[in-house]
Symmetry: C2
Subunit: 218 residues, 2 copies
Amino acid sequence: MRDAYTEQLDSVFDDLAGICRRVETAVESATTALMTGDPTIAQEVISADAEIDRMREEVEETCFSLLSLQQPVAGDLRTVVAALRMVSELERMGDLSVHVAKIARLRVPDVAVPEQVRPTVARMAQVARTMVGQVSTVITSRDVEAAIALGKADEEMDQLRRTSFSELLGDDWHHGVEAAVDIALLGRYYERIADHAVSIANRVIFVVTGHNPSTVDA
Amino acid sequence: MRDAYTEQLDSVFDDLAGICRRVETAVESATTALMTGDPTIAQEVISADAEIDRMREEVEETCFSLLSLQQPVAGDLRTVVAALRMVSELERMGDLSVHVAKIARLRVPDVAVPEQVRPTVARMAQVARTMVGQVSTVITSRDVEAAIALGKADEEMDQLRRTSFSELLGDDWHHGVEAAVDIALLGRYYERIADHAVSIANRVIFVVTGHNPSTVDA
């Protein structure tokens, strides 16, 4: 009975890592759509989100079945509840990728990101995507050191967000209000993806060590 | 034993409603700070958020203790898990109110919202605040009809968001990039508060009926 339980719990974490890899693809493809103005890729990201939602439902059902049938306590209980929260956050990260893709699609045949801010936006996207990739490794390995390191990458995201505001609000911004609003919202979406990555890493730390690192959530 | 359980579960829902009322105050005060440019009120919203976080931790501990000690199954299990999710969403709504307050504070001694878009922003804030107020009633009463009605208010929020974009991107927008970026982000924050209100109402529907209304989450 207990072995079946451990197996089921491991399979939940495998599923979470699998969803996380799909989110990584979503972030990457949404960014490609954004930078190239490709409506087909944007549409693929939007359509693929339904599969992430479906996978989330599956994980939720497994977690409920673990809670009902195995009635875990202490550490095991906290692990199952952590998994339920992680899967909600992964789903949100998928939704945020869809938001990026929708901005890309809205501006076709133009490209939403003017040349002047491309380096900053591209770097934000890269940081977000790398963090999502690291989170799937952290989920699989339950490597606490790697999970702690992830929190540091978030500092670069905060800095990039400030840089992008300086660019938008500087005297040499000549791309008008629409592009500025797009960039501000895109920055928000990538920042939130990064926040969720840190939050999931913190939940893995909690599952492994039993201690909650001070939550980074703003 | 069973009676103690029911009592504890009721007290969790009372606590959730209590947090929700604090969130309602946060949304209201953040909006006042925004519309008047009052840094003291903005700071109060930012400081008060720690209490919402503390209350969330208490609810989480009670839920864990219910899960560990009472090992609920079926409907009771789903109710406790729903409570854990609701409290996360309430905390996020508090964070979003803090974001509104921070924009207000950043623009002092000016006011972030230009006259031209004040009606739209004020209405967004009012819709968000009303929805939060209705959610605390829904949590207390577990009134499914009222919970369903809440989803309809969200449609007005979507419409207001579109209106605000038309205003920002119209030819008669003369308030520059900074104000436009502020309004776009404020719109996003109020919209997310409304989204969470709908999501919590849906969780109440689920707790009462056992059926999940199609989740509204974008």
